[in-house]
């Protein structure tokens, strides 16, 4: 039994969830018998909320938190080695790996859903999924990939490396950090259960009035998204406080690695805007469960309200996704070009102005929604304005590569690939920011291809690049370079072939979110399906590489890249307290080519 002791937190969590579920069901039944409102949704709501509380209390909140409040000694059980990953660990390095593995698995699951969609779309008639399941699968693909994009870099990589980069022992609030991870499993479970409750056919945007009237699966989706938002807020709060308070001596704001700056900018968005979307989702829940009329136009509600509230978060959210990717990109560009980052201060200014401007562009999603016409031009102008700071980021990347000594290992290949992809993503965005062309292209595959170029081509490529880059730091071992390059080349080629074809079918009139289409688009769709399958296969070398190299890769040494930033100044993998001797920072992060530079930016004190 003692070998299985590491599974206790999860077991307690499950028991707590079951107890919570039963209590919630009881509360739900008594409430619905009192009010006479539709009972199923009330039961689902109460059961879920109580089950979530039960799960969190069981998995660790009671033992490490509440006990302290009420004056009982907190009880910690820290397992050893790989067993730590299954418990309520408060070590940011463990939590980072927990996040990363969870979201890579979710990424592959989301990719599998995309393949199911492509099987349906291989023929213009009814196929595998048909009208009943296609939209649910499409919506699941959407929300899972959005969650991956929001949390994989911030929750996974930055959780692991941000405290190391600023020379801290851990994040500011280790317990909140653990909580923000353990909120995720209920979200995943809820989403996977939606097909049993009739699915949800609203897409990840969940616009009312559809999302108020469709099957119960929609309610599960709304709760999942709401819970995920909570995790995102807690994560952002932690990263902001950590960076403000826990920088090592000498780590001034001007010496922060650029990745840390990007996380600061993204965290500002996630602690503020996420509250607004949470309220938007809550309004839909209230309309469904409590019979309110936020979106019932007949009774004084306004469906457009949701679109405003939703995009007030969800457009800034794309910067929560892409800013950390930019940060990781510039980080690697400097290290692998062996040159100081070009225009560091300008990049920081760009990150902060992207953050500010991102709150003022949301209504470009509403050009065809019936929003007041006088709003079109200002939102078009601000949307196009935000490409200026984004351009500065590009300029910085290219300026750093210029006359650098490029080291084209796998992470750097991903950097070059990302620059190429995001360029296409950015240029095609102009057509969508522009009112006149957007009205033609709205809701076609052109839009789908555009945001995949920015989100997948920009962010997910960078996620993989950054995983390769920090893999030696996390595991102390080297990944297999040949397999890494194979992964990059196959992923890059099939990805581009796939989404360039989508641009073409999109401009020819292929609508998004439909399971059928005119027959003249058949060839393009078959092509997309074939490329999708190949893209899916390109992840096999990645998964094999990660698992095999972690188990028995070559030992990497502490700093295999010869990089200057602080996370490479300690052991790989780092000891529990991160730095055996607390570091003192005495120069900027990228000192390549400068006379008298040290190996990293720090000296131990």
């Amino acid at each position: 039994m003692t070998q299985l002791k590491f599974l206790w937190p999860i077991t307690r969590g499950l028991i707590g969830a079951i107890i919570g579920l039963l209590v919630g069901l009881g509360v739900g039944l008594s409430v619905s018998s009192l009010t006479g409102n539709p009972a199923t949704e009330i039961n689902i709501s109460f059961s879920y909320v109580f089950a979530l509380l039960g799960w969190l209390l069981g998995v660790g909140v009671w033992n490490s938190w509440i006990r302290e409040w009420i004056g009982i000694k907190p009880s910690y059980f820290e397992a050893k080695n790989w067993q730590r990953y299954f418990g309520f660990s408060m070590d940011h390095k463990v939590i980072g790996v927990q996040y990363l593995v969870t979201f890579v698995i979710l990424f592959l699951l989301g990719g599998f859903f995309a393949l199911l969609m492509r099987i349906e779309l291989a023929d213009s008639g009814e196929g595998l999924l048909g009208p009943n399941y296609y939209n649910t699968i499409m919506s699941l693909h959407g929300i899972i990939m959005v969650a991956v994009a929001v949390a994989a870099i911030i929750g996974g990589l930055s959780n692991y490396v941000l405290p190391l980069m600023i020379g801290a022992e851990d994040v500011a609030f280790p317990r909140i950090n653990a909580l923000s991870f353990w909120i995720i499993p209920p979200v995943a479970i809820l989403l996977i259960l939606t097909p049993l409750f009739g699915g949800f056919d609203s897409g990840w945007t969940a616009y009312p009035p559809l999302s108020v009237t469709n099957a119960d699966g929609q309610l599960l989706f709304l709760f999942a998204f709401l819970t995920f938002g909570l995790s995102s807020i807690l994560g952002g709060l932690n990263f902001l406080t950590t960076t403000i308070c826990l920088r090592a001596p000498g780590m001034t704001w001007g010496r922060l690695p650029i990745f840390v700056w990007s996380i600061v900018a993204a965290s500002i968005i996630s602690v503020t805007a996420t509250q607004v979307v949470a309220f938007g989702l809550l309004m839909v829940i209230l309309d469904r469960v409590a019979g309110m009329v936020f979106f019932d136009a007949g009774l004084g509600g306004k469906p457009l309200l949701y679109e405003h509230v939703f995009w007030f978060y969800s457009h800034p959210a794309v910067y929560i996704m892409i800013l950390p990717a930019f940060g990781a990109l510039l980080e690697m560009v400097s290290h692998f070009s062996r040159k100081p980052l070009f225009g560091y201060k300008l990049v920081v200014a760009s990150f902060l102005s992207i953050t500010a401007l991102s709150f003022l562009v949301w209504a470009h999603h509403l050009f065809t929604s019936g929003m007041d016409e006088f709003l079109h031009i200002p939102f078009m102008a601000i949307t196009e304005l935000i490409s200026v700071p984004t351009g500065v980021v590009f300029l910085s990347a290219l300026g750093t590569i210029w006359r650098g000594k490029l080291w084209l290992v796998t992470p750097m290949l991903f950097v070059v690939g990302t620059v190429f992809n995001f360029l296409i993503g950015g240029l095609t965005g102009i057509f969508l920011a522009d009112v006149a062309t957007d009205i033609h292209l709205q809701d076609t595959y052109f839009v789908v291809a555009h945001f995949h170029y920015t989100m997948m081509g920009g962010e997910i490529f960078m996620l993989f690049g950054a995983i390769y880059y920090w893999f030696p730091k996390m595991t102390g071992r080297l990944y297999n370079e040949t397999l890494g390059r194979l992964h990059f080349i196959t992923m890059f080629l099939t990805y581009n072939a796939l989404f360039i074809t989508m641009f073409i079918v999109g401009t020819n009139g292929m609508n998004r979110r439909v399971w059928t289409y005119p027959e003249n688009l058949q060839d393009g769709n078959i092509l997309i399906g074939v490329f999708s399958l190949l893209l899916g296969l390109s992840f096999i070398p990645f998964v094999y590489n990660m698992v095999a190299s972690w188990a028995r890769g070559t030992v990497s040494g502490n700093n295999p890249w010869g990089a200057t930033t602080l996370e490479w100044a300690t052991d790989s993998p780092p000891p529990e307290e991160n730095f055996a001797h607390p570091p003192k920072v005495d120069e900027g992060p990228y000192t390549y080519g400068q006379s008298g530079r040290k190996e990293t930016q720090a000296t131990p004190i």
């Binding site: 503020t272 209230l286 309200l305 529990e576």
Partner: protein, 188 residues
């Protein structure tokens, strides 16, 4: 080794860290209440039904502001290590907060007759007061916990972050009401 973050010297012990964390949280919550208030104007403009119970609204607003004063007195008392005064003040805060919640309940009872949740103003009214009441409730639970912690002798004039944090949150909840009250009752 085993109790990682707890033995650590600078994490979890620095007051400025906790303060900044709380302020970031309050900033985050501000956006929630901002969205609530904007929604009221977006859906209803400045329309207001005649059946709002104005005297009751005013009374519960005053009660809530009084509770903030009591909470402040409690914090000052603990900073002077006056445990008895601390207890009295925090317990009065809890009592005033309960009166506020009873008042909101009474409002809800009346509102059901004139503008139920299935009417446009009712939707706004129940959501705004409901979300705020939920915050009051969480604040009350936190206040009860610090009374318990105080009676266990865990606060003194050198170390009373628990009180400071909860009281700051309580002030925030009251300030939120200061914006919600005119938005619902006074705008016309």
């Amino acid at each position: 080794m085993s109790t990682h973050s707890e033995t650590n010297t600078h994490i979890g012990n620095s007051l400025s860290l906790k303060r900044i964390g709380l302020w970031v949280f309050i900033l985050s919550e501000t956006f929630l209440f901002g969205a609530l208030i904007s929604t009221r104007y977006y859906l209803q403009g400045v329309e207001r039904p005649d059946h709002l119970n104005q005297p009751l609204g005013l009374v519960i607003s005053i009660v809530l502001l009084m509770s903030s004063l009591a909470a402040y007195r409690g914090e000052v008392a603990v900073s002077y290590n006056d445990q008895k005064k601390f207890r009295i003040n925090i317990i009065s805060t809890i009592i005033l907060a309960s009166i506020f919640l009873v008042g909101v309940g009474w409002e809800w009872y009346e509102a059901f007759q004139y503008f139920p949740p299935s009417s446009a103003f009712g939707t706004i009214f129940f959501t705004m007061t409901g979300i705020h009441a939920f915050h009051v409730l969480t604040g009350m639970i936190a206040l009860i916990i610090i009374v318990k912690m105080g009676s266990d002798g865990r606060f003194n004039s050198n170390s009373y972050w628990g009180v400071e944090g909860v009281v700051k949150y309580w002030h925030f909840v009251d300030v939120a009401w200061v914006f919600i009250y005119p938005t619902l009752y006074l705008v016309n």
